[in-house]
Symmetry: D2
Subunit: 181 residues, 4 copies
C-alpha cells in the first residue's frame, strides 16, 4: 500500500529555524518509502480566516490534504501557542482530515522544545477530525539541532522522529484500509 504523508511547515517567520527540522523530517519520511511533500505555509499566505492573499492557491493545499493518508506538522512554539499562519492554513479545510493520523513535531529555541504548544495543537487537530498519535517530537535548542548534513545532530532526536513517523505510518495504513480509501 502506497502511503502519502505530507509534512506541513507551520511558520512563515523570516528568521524561522523550523525549516531545517522540516527538511530533516521529509528525508526520514522518504527513507521509509513513503510519499511526501513539504507543505510550506509561506506558499499559502492568508491575512485572516478565509482571506487568502491575492494569487494564493488554496486548491493546491486542499488537493494535497485530500490525497494524504496522514500528516506530520512541524511548527515552533510562540508564546506557548501555535503560529497564527499555521492555524489559518489548517482552517481552510474541513473535510480532508477526517480519520487520518497526524504526528506533531514542535520546535523551540529553549529546552522545552515547544511541548506546551503541542498540547494546544493536539486539541486543534482533534477538532479538525484528525487522530494525533501519542508520540511527539519536541525539538529543543533548535539553533544547534540540525547538523551540516541536514540531519538531526542528536541520535535520540532521530530516534524519536522515527518513532513519530512510524506511528503515523502505522495508523495511516490501518485507517486507510478501514476507510476503504
Amino acid at each position: 500500500m502506497d502511503l502519502s504523508i505530507p509534512v506541513i511547515l507551520g511558520t512563515a517567520r523570516p528568521s524561522r529555524q523550523s525549516e531545517g527540522v522540516a527538511n530533516a523530517i521529509v528525508d526520514l519520511v522518504k527513507q521509509r518509502n513513503l510519499m511526501t511533500d513539504l507543505v510550506d505555509v509561506r506558499d499559502y499566505p492568508l491575512t485572516g480566516t478565509g482571506i487568502p492573499a491575492p494569487g494564493t492557491d488554496l486548491d493546491g493545499y486542499r488537493s494535497i490534504a485530500a490525497a494524504a493518508d496522514g500528516f506530520i506538522i512541524v511548527a515552533p512554539e510562540y508564546n506557548h501557542g501555535y503560529p497564527g499562519e499555521l492555524k489559518l492554513l489548517l482552517d481552510t479545510e474541513s473535510q480532508a482530515y477526517a480519520r487520518k493520523p497526524v504526528g506533531l513535531v514542535t520546535v523551540s529555541a529553549g529546552i522545552l522544545g515547544g511541548a506546551r504548544m503541542a498540547q494546544s495543537l493536539r486539541l486543534v487537530v482533534s477538532g479538525l477530525g484528525m487522530v494525533p498519535v501519542a508520540p511527539a517530537l519536541h525539538v529543543s535548542e533548535v539553533g544547534t539541532a540540525i547538523d551540516e548534513s541536514g540531519e538531526f545532530a542528536s541520535p535520540s532526536m532521530t530516534e524519536v522522529a522515527a518513532s513519530v513517523i512510524d506511528e503515523v505510518a502505522w495508523y495511516a495504513r490501518a485507517l486507510k484500509e478501514a476507510r476503504g480509501a
Copy 2:
C-alpha cells in the same frame, strides 16, 4: 484612577459575527466609565509571524497595548482553537502585556460558546505575561445573541459580561497601583 481597557476583536473572517459581541462589550465597558478602544484585527493584517502586510501600522497596536491597563479579547472558536489572525497580532508585542489582566469573551454558533478555545487562549495570554481573570463569557448561538439595539439579548449574558469586565477592572486597578504605573 483612569483605566484603559481596550477590547480586541480577534477575527477578520468576512462573515464574522463576533463584531456585534465586541461592540456590545465596548458599550458595557464605557458604561463603567472606563476608557476603551475597539482593536480590530482587520486593521493589522499579517500574513505570517512577523510579516505585516504593506501599510500595516503595528506601532499603533503597540502604543495601545502599552497604554492599556487591561484587555478584553473577543474571539470566535474555529476548530477548537483561536483564530490565526488573533495569534499573529498578539505575537507582535512582548513587553506591553506584563502584569496586566485580560478577560476572555469567546463566541460560537453552537451551544458551547467557544469554551474549548478559551482553554487554549488562556494559556497563550499567560505565556504573554498577562493575568487571565477567572470569569469568562462564552457566547453561544451568536446568530441570535445580540438584539437590534446592539445589546445582549439574554440578561444572563449581560450579567456575565459585566462580571468579566468588573473583574478585569478590579485587577487593572490593583495591578496598576502595584506596578507604580
Copy 3:
C-alpha cells in the same frame, strides 16, 4: 469481530449524577452488539498515585483494560478539570491502553457540559497511548438529562452519544485488526 468497549464511570462523589449517564451509555453500547462493562471508580479506591486502599482489586481493572478494544469515559467536570479519582485509576495501568480508541462523555450541571475538562482529559488519554476520537458528548444540565426510563431525555444527546460510540467502535475494529490482536 467481537469488540469489548468498557465504560469507565469516573467519579466517586457521593452525590454523583454521572452514574445515570454512564448507565445510559452502557445501554447504547449493548444495543450495538458490543460487549461492555461498567467500570466504576468506586470499586477501585486509591488514596494517592500507586496507593490502593486495602482490599482494592487493581488486577481486576488491569484485566478489563487489557481485554478492551476501546473505551468510553464518562466523567463530570470539577473546577474545569477531571476528577482526581479518575486520574488515580487511569494511572494504575500503562501498557493496556496503547493504540486503542477512547470516547469522552463529559458531564456538568451547567450549560457547558464539561467541555473544558474534556480538553485536559483528551491530553491525558493521549499521554496514556490511547486515541481520543474526534466526536465527544458534553452532557449539560445533568439533573434533567436522563429521563425516568434511564435514557437521554434529549434525542440530540442520544444522537451524539451514538456517534461517539460508533466512532469508537469503528476505530476499535480498524486498530484491533492492525494490531493483529
Copy 4:
C-alpha cells in the same frame, strides 16, 4: 505586610521525588521572609471527590488555604496530567482561593520537567479562582535536581524558582491590599 505563601506538595506516591523539590522551595520562600507551610497531600487522604479517609482533617487544609495570601504548587507530571490526589485536595475548597496568586513548580524524571501538565494545572487553578503567575519552574531529571544540602543543584533552577516565588509574592501583596484583607 506579612504574607503567607503555603507550598502544596501534590503527590503521595510512595517513591515520590518531588518532596525534595518542595522542601527546597519552602527554604527559598523562608529566605524571603515570607511565612509558609508545607502542605503535604499525604496528610489529607481522599478516596474520591468529597470522600475523605477516616480521620482526615480537611478543616486544617481549609484553614491554611483561607489564611494564605498566595500558593505554590509542587507536583509531578503523570501521563501528561496532574496527580489525582492533588486534584482531590484542591477540590475540597472553593472559596478560599479567590483572587490569590499561585506559582506552579512541575516535576518529571525526563527533560520536559512536567511542562505539559503545567498547562492543564494552570486551567484548574483558574477554574478555582486563583491567578496563575506567568513564570513557572519545570524541574527536569528530578533524580539529580536536588543536591545533598537540599538545594537545587543547578543555579539556573534556583534562579527560576526565585522568580516564581518573587512573582507570587508581588501579586500576593498587590491583591491582598486590593482585597482589603
